[in-house]
Symmetry: C2
Subunit: 561 residues, 2 copies
């Protein structure tokens, strides 16, 4: 079979695995951009399905533990809604209804027989990015060549989630290679943004972003897992209007996932949650750490959840914090809605009694260059080796038209030597040292006696752009190179009356000018506006706590309007 | 000038910096092997000098804080003794008496004027391995080409030690490149083992090892800093009969040191203490962590000293531990004295009520191969680039005769590509995962309900060998690849009557056979016998605590004899 035939067979098999009665037959027309509210209109979801899928995590866990709702019921409700999301945005890869329901049934039996829950996440359905291996299932990562490779064991994170009582129930779509901030591949196709389907859901966890956004309400509470090497959690979270957290390396176990650039030991991909609430982010993080992941994955740091750090003891106990906003990075000025999101955040924080100053960007362009150079040192060989068995092409564009071909995220030519790579990595380490000092040196400007508590930054220089137009990940990549934990918070949505184009005639770079010229409020209609909260390495607990403070301030600000 | 002239000028300058009155003129004859007791016989050291230099750290700090001894006095006493050590073993590189005494004088003035000590290490002299930069001084690392490069700032660790009140006072000798487990270079020459000067002091922190051993008494208490990428702390510590601790990556700040293979991000060099007592190891480690090194070095893990982990709460509170002894690694069987050291340890632990089982080696040969392959992927280019400016040769042998030339620790040929390096590093990560599982799986054999609490292993397959004969670092390197913290404890000394050669006719490898054939008890006379205590990644507190338990058991065992 040709690679196109192999891919088509797999896609067809995927459709076959969906129970026919879960397919909506009143779908909105393809040309309708915003489909976020459709789950409430489909005939597939019952009132109970809607109640369940829009419940908070705490409510779900409580009702599962008290047997008000069975795990089978909750899994079924979320599965049905995930299938609706699939029909709307094409966000899923592996679908395994029977297996998930068997697992849910076992949990119900355990609870009935013992009177006890299996663990802190008893009965909670969990979706997983395609690369996270589940024993017996494929993790194609969008490579046709990887079809038919069934995982021999679970990723460590799956083992941990299962020991906590969770129910893995779907895997979600990614770009082939994972190394592109949009979501498209030759097997499963393209994932769209549910807020505006002419826009990208971002990537590489674009399937997760779309799926979570389709919980319908911003208070739909659930938990999904993506990964982030250059923004792959934060870009889809920000573009789709949900929370997304990229922890530092070594807090969430990564072992047992498939990936691109494996063996690249310098700037690593990390797993983290995407969710409709911050509470879900914290619950995920605490639950995973409670299982001592360091005895299952040697790359995980032996460090428990620190309640002390969560209480912000090193940040004045969270009173009168000083945040610094990076309005732009000095390379590409963000579009008007992004700036408005930052301004809303600033106003809300000032109203809440905190201090807000400007962040001075530091060698942000060099950070992007160094990061790309490290990945690209062997990436071309890596992608070619992965695609070789079937002869499928390595995807060179995420555009919808053939002439969109752009090699933005594809290195050309051959790689470099190990010694040359070391020279780049040496510069990377120096930059990390310099950036830390740059941050520490802010102690003289904050008025708190401490350096800046957290940086607030755009997660991209635009809101979700049209398919094929997400041309840079530099607003997220800097946190990967510096290994800073970063949490994306949704703030608002594009509004054509507020987000008008302003005249501008000076530009940092050609890229900056192109980005400016490409802005047109109508194109971005309804796209979510998000920020990211950036802390220092292995400061996850504090970043979560400060994000809660920011989120509360934002919600208080909205209440006043 | 030729490189030989440049090197000779630097060596001559070093001698000029020693106050003439500190040079002993009753040195033992060059052919006398054991010089450990000479510091008590030199006319240079007064009774007070001897009292000070053989005091415990706690006593020193107490007498410094109470002004019984001034910092100037203590620094002078240790400096004089360090010069004696230099005359005996050639263990120093940078000597800077005036500067150290000015610093000590400032500390005395501060204490006098304020009534307060500067910090927890007030007035304590600290020696530093040559690569650890001190502002204004050279860190040649044995490269003639680096002479004249004066550090623009302190290494982060030096800043931290100074803020704690310590007095850096000498730098110590290393092999050119650091990447050889003996100590010789074209500038400063060779460092010998004070227990038997026909033997090597090990490397790369060989200057530290010899210097510390020459405190004279095993209770001489002091603290020095070395580094370890493949055993560079543990080999000199073990060969010279002192304690040496290789922490996991990311606990002790490394930033601001010079090094070989910079930018190699996969198996990193770490700094750690060598000392005549375990108490000194713990004091060093706690004091450094108390200064929050993570705000000064981005590679340091944000994790405070954990008193809970030190109390062994995850190891049954330290009662009835189960240790596993790796008698040999299945590649090279250790010499009889090494085996005796392990047996002494086993007997002592059994007598103390602990359990001792055998450790099953796991792919130890492959671990060595992978580790070497990662370092060697660009090492040749690295060494050549460093040596190029003056045309000095990259040292190819640590032997004392020209015909000793061996390329044991020098890769030949050119390096490999970044992509090829990634494939090796990918295998490394898998091996770490497998080894962790191998360890966790011991839970069924320990009888404690826990996996093995710590592994006890040789730190080399021999005690300190003759110069040029330290042919493998595989008994230390495995801990570097696996990032296991490992602490070397001195146990005994070679005794020709006890450590007789046993007949043997089966060998694991050719290397094993050569090692067996090379054993001759007389050659190794008086060489220290040491073990290493190996824990799991980022388990420094527990490794220190378990080492204290082992050390106490050993001392109790000696008391019974």
């Amino acid at each position: 079979m040709s690679w196109t035939q192999i891919a088509a067979a797999k896609k067809s098999q995927q459709l076959d695995r969906i129970p026919a009665e879960w397919l909506s037959n009143n779908l909105p027309p393809t040309e309708q951009p915003n489909v976020v509210d459709f789950p409430k209109k489909t005939t597939v979801l019952s009132a109970l399905d809607l109640e369940i899928t829009e419940s908070e995590v705490a409510t779900l866990l409580h009702n599962l533990a008290s047997s008000k709702w069975s795990a089978v019921q909750v899994t079924t409700s979320f599965y049905k809604r995930a299938i609706v999301a699939q029909q709307l945005t094409n966000c899923l890869t592996e679908i395994f209804v029977d297996r998930a329901l068997i697992r849910a049934n076992e949990l119900d039996a355990h609870l009935k027989n013992t009177g006890k829950v299996v663990g802190a996440l008893h009965g909670l359905p969990i979706s997983l990015k395609d690369q996270i291996c589940i024993k017996g299932l494929e993790s194609t990562m969008g490579y046709v060549s990887w079809i038919g490779q069934y995982a021999e064991k679970n990723a460590v994170l799956v083992d941990i989630l299962e020991s906590l009582g969770a129910v893995p129930f779907v895997k979600t779509n990614i770009p082939q290679t994972l190394m592109w901030p949009e979501t498209f591949n030759h097997i499963f196709g393209r994932t769209s943004n549910p807020h505006n389907r002419s826009l990208t859901s971002g990537g590489s966890s674009g399937g997760e972003g779309a799926l979570i956004a389709l919980k319908g309400s911003p208070l739909g509470k659930f938990r999904w897992v993506g990964s982030d090497i250059g923004g792959s959690i934060r870009i889809p979270a920000g573009f789709c209007g949900v929370y997304g957290f990229r922890p530092s390396c070594g807090r969430v176990p990564y072992a047992g996932c498939v990936n691109s650039l494996e063996g690249q030991d310098s700037i690593l991909s990390v797993l983290g949650p995407l969710c409709n609430t911050l509470d879900g982010i914290k619950t995920f993080f605490k639950a995973v750490l409670s299982e001592q992941p360091w005895i299952k994955d040697p790359l995980v740091i032996r460090k428990r959840w620190s309640e002390e750090e969560y209480k912000l003891t090193e940040h004045g106990n969270g009173e009168k914090l000083c945040f610094a906003i990076m309005w732009d990075n000095g390379v590409i000025e963000p579009h008007p809605p992004v700036r408005r999101g930052l301004q809303i955040t600033k106003d809300a924080l000032l109203a809440a009694g905190h201090r807000v100053i400007d962040w001075t960007p530091y060698k942000q362009a060099e950070i992007t260059t160094i990061t790309n150079s490290i990945w690209n040192s062997g990436a071309n060989e890596d992608y070619k080796a992965a695609a070789a068995p079937t002869g499928e092409p390595v995807i060179a564009s995420m555009g919808v038209l053939p002439e969109d071909t752009e090699l933005l995220f594809r290195p050309t030519g051959s790689g470099i030597s190990a010694f040359e790579l070391w020279q780049i990595q040496k510069r990377k380490r120096a930059l990390r040292q310099e950036y830390l000092k740059h941050w520490e040196d802010t102690v003289i400007t904050t008025g708190t006696g401490r350096p800046v508590d957290a940086i607030i930054s755009p997660m991209a220089p635009y809101t979700a752009p049209p398919h094929g137009m997400n041309k840079t990940a530099q607003y997220t990549m800097w946190c990967n190179m510096l290994d800073f934990p970063a949490l994306v918070i949704p703030v608002s949505k594009v509004d054509q009356t507020l987000d008008v184009k302003q005249p501008r005639d000076k530009f940092y770079t050609k890229q900056d000018q192109e980005n400016y010229e490409g802005y047109n409020p109508a194109t971005y209609e309804s796209a979510p506006i998000s920020i990211q909260v950036v802390g220092r390495t292995v400061e996850e607990e504090a970043v979560i706590a400060m994000s809660e403070i920011i989120d509360d301030a934002l919600r208080a600000g909205k209440a006043q309007l």
